[in-house]
């Protein structure tokens, strides 16, 4: 099940390309992280100056994500070389990460900076960083202060990796919502007078009514009431809804109650949801092709505007929605709602940012001068360099308004979208993997253009403004309850199940079983549903679910003991 859901993005071999993805914990909190202190800029300037006197060094880096090599005369890398005296020699992932690391470990030779993976710790390929950071890297130390304990390896207590996302500071602007929700087309809301569905029933009623009135779209294609995707590793659309409907946050394949994690996929809380879908299916509202469609077909369907609603994470179907926008079908783009079974349940879809543990860079044992490397990373952690890496160069890539706010001209926005231009003018490949500030700088500007409130507002279409005004909301996150502080052991999906262990085998088997029986149950005649469900439950009984739950609970307990701030 999707406990390792986001991690899966990193480790799963997508067959087509063995593509791996990392996801930033991007759903961010309003208040930000009170513990994280903004980095003093004087400090940053100082380190820049000293490093200018350093000799030129070359740092080799293996980046565990695919990317194109920047052009030889890339403006930002050149600036780094001129001012910090560091030439970066980067290799990017092509093919499968696990395979690449396996061979690298077997060969026993590593680049200076290497992408995070627990395998490398086991192979003693990377060195502990905590002393290096304490002694040489004040910026990094300040940046990671709030998550310091979490960064420690669960097996030996050392810090090996510098998480590349999810450590926030200052005011955090959350304008867009990219996480899980039940999505519904804006036209449906408009026609119904902008209601706020709170429960699954209310949501489905909206869809039923609209579908009855509009059997086809305005251009004549039949509408599809509800669809879901379960293709390749993108299975969360089908599997994760029940935990949210019961008010649980995204723990992947388990729900955590009173500190104990348990699998829910075969339990009654899940049955209730799938029974609803079975009803929809038999009414002809559920997409008949839902369980056979591939990702491209899913996106195609969404981009025709025929799909009234679905449960998904926003980033997963964003490409389809973008196509709707480009056809100016704003009414058929989506708003997300945090549905629950009963109004007595409080929704917990939106969660706070999480440090992207076991991601980012580590320093390998082969690095000749770890101190120089950590100093280099520390220098990049200064606000000045962070702005250069994220926004670019002032006057060239962005402008500063009279109020001190950064903005981009239309032309500057355009060039930021040009992949060829970016290869010569941005250092995205390195920036993506290195430690970074998220939230806002000490001068109040957002750390990336997309989060700058004005930039967001400018991107809204008139229809969007009308809708937000009708709800008296400012941003898309206002539809969700503000996330509470994370449990100290949250989230369970980040638990490392350990390759090849009983827990990880059980995890695979559970996913297989769900993907096999859930479609069967949903597509069954209503009177057959219970029988198929029973088959499903029986199949689950054959799996060593306990091994899986035990591993997760053991790790959650460990976190509670080690991560609770003293």
């Amino acid at each position: 099940m999707g406990v390792m859901k986001r991690k899966t993005l990193l480790t799963t071999m997508s067959l087509t390309l063995a593509l791996s993805l990392t996801l930033a914990g991007c759903s961010s909190s309003n208040n930000g992280n009170s513990n994280a202190s903004p980095v003093a800029s004087s400090n940053a300037a100082g380190s820049t100056n000293t490093s200018q006197k350093q000799e030129q060094i070359t740092i080799s880096a293996f980046i565990g994500a695919p990317n194109q090599a920047p052009t030889a005369d890339n403006r930002i890398y050149k600036k780094i070389q001129d001012e910090l005296g560091v030439k970066l020699n980067m290799e990017f992932l092509v093919g499968d990460l696990q395979q690449k690391l396996g061979v690298m470990i077997a060969g026993g030779e590593y680049p200076d900076l290497i992408t995070a993976d627990t395998k490398l710790v086991a192979a003693k390929a990377v060195i502990p960083l905590e002393d290096l950071i304490e002694q040489h890297a004040p910026n990094l130390k300040a940046h990671y202060a709030a998550v310091w304990n979490k960064m420690k390896d669960s097996s030996d207590g050392h810090i090996y990796w510098l998480p590349n996302y999810g450590v926030q500071q200052g005011e955090v602007h959350s304008n867009n919502y990219s996480g899980p929700a039940f999505w519904i087309q804006k036209d449906i809301l408009k026609e119904a007078g902008y209601p706020t569905p709170k429960t699954l029933d209310e949501y489905l009623t909206l869809i039923r009514n609209y579908a009855a009135k509009h059997p086809t779209t305005s251009d004549g294609q039949p509408t599809i009431g509800f669809t879901t995707l379960a293709f390749d590793w993108r299975t969360f659309g089908l599997l994760n809804a029940p935990e949210h409907l019961t008010g649980h946050p995204n723990d992947g394949g388990v729900v955590v109650d009173d500190g104990v994690a348990s699998v829910f996929a075969d339990k009654d809380i899940a049955k209730r949801y799938y029974k609803e879908l079975n009803g929809l299916y038999n009414e002809g509202l559920m997409d008949k092709e839902a369980f056979v469609q591939n990702y491209d077909q899913y996106l195609a369907k969404i981009s025709t505007g025929r799909v009234l609603g679905m449960f998904d994470q926003h980033w997963n179907f964003q490409a389809g929605e973008d196509t709707l926008v480009s056809q100016n079908k704003i009414g058929q783009t989506y708003v997300g709602f945090p549905l629950v079974y009963d109004t007595s349940i409080k929704d917990y879809y939106w969660d706070r940012a999480l440090p992207n543990l076991n991601n980012g860079f580590g320093i390998s044992k082969d690095a000749k001068d770890p101190v120089a490397i950590i100093k280099f990373l520390d220098a990049l952690m200064s606000e000045e360099w962070q702005k250069t890496l994220s926004w670019g160069e002032e006057g060239v890539d962005y402008m500063v308004g009279d109020d001190g706010k950064f903005y981009r001209t239309e032309e500057q926005r355009k060039q930021q979208q040009d992949p060829t231009w970016k290869l010569a003018n941005r250092a995205d490949a390195f920036y993506g993997a290195s430690p970074k500030m998220e939230g806002s700088y000490s001068d109040g500007n957002a750390t990336d253009a997309g989060s700058q409130p004005q930039e967001f507002y400018d991107s809204l279409k008139p229809e969007d403004k009308e809708l937000l005004d009708a709800y008296k909301f400012k941003t898309w996150t206002d539809f969700f309850s503000s996330p509470p502080e994370n449990r100290v052991d949250y989230p369970a999906w980040q638990v490392d199940l350990i390759d090849g262990s009983d827990a990880s085998v059980a995890n695979k088997k559970m996913t297989d079983s769900s993907l096999k029986f859930l479609p069967k149950a949903i597509m069954a005649k209503p009177e057959k549903f219970d029988a198929v469900w029973q088959e499903y439950v029986n199949d689950y009984k054959k799996i060593n679910v306990k091994a899986y739950e035990d591993r997760i609970n053991e790790q959650l307990q460990w976190r509670i003991q080690n991560w609770t701030s003293k």
């Binding site: 695919p66 990317n67 093919g95 389809g320 973008d322 480009s326």
Partner: protein
Amino acid sequence: MRTKQLRAEPVVFHTFNAVVMILLAVVTLYPFLNTLAVSFNAGNDTIRGGIYLWPRVWTNQNYTAVFAGGAIYHAFWISVARTVIATVLSLFLTSMLAYTVSRKEYVFRKPITVIIVLTMYFNAGLIPSYFLIKDLHLLNSFYVYIIPGLISAFNMIVIRTYIQTLPEGLIESAKIDGAGDFRTFISIILPLCQPVLATVALFVAVGQWNSWFDTFLYASSKQDLSTLQYEMMKLLSSSMFSNSNAAVSNSGSAMNAVQNMVTPVSIRAAITIVSALPILVVYPFMQKYFVHGMQLGSVKE
């Protein structure tokens, strides 16, 4: 054609045959034309589906993106070099080996055949192979493209089978004239084997051209050795990666993605066309060696 053959039977047959062939051509041409159409269609429009034989929103951005990096020009020549060198060497060595095991009197004929054939049915695995390449100092060397795969058991068997259909008398008479096995191989067997050698050359060349995994494993840290296919794999991976990631990291600016004309699907199409075209021209060129019964007639006993 002699006039007496102009009966109804050939007409019916030819009509039937033509219909079958044209149907097949249509069916097999379609996926390629479809890919071509997608490669010239705007990526954000392709997502809607429904592109068949003609682009709906013309763009050359997919190709611009493919050629943007500039690394592919050098990589193209590396690909050509490895393909040509490996094909020539492999063809020569494989057919030489095939000749020896086609000689019924050869003492080691059977053991050699068994040893070679069995290599088709096992695979030692990635890591031991990596160690071997490392120990032979082939890592990050151009030779790693040539040396490891010179002998293909499959190709050897195909050539051997062909040689065995040649009239034995030819070889015997060469021997009687005093030619050794090597000279017989060079001057009798090789020329007679043209059709099968053309076939095997095609197999080897296509295999060489399309391979990227050896670059990935053995030469990935040396840009000078990158091949066209490897550059294409890089591009495809990064487009899939950045596309899925864009939604997250640029969450604010929906406008960004909207104008994004290049999507994984569209770039995959352009990559397929760019990397397949050079090798596609090889086959029509080889077809001239497929001349029915060439030379055989003239040298029959």
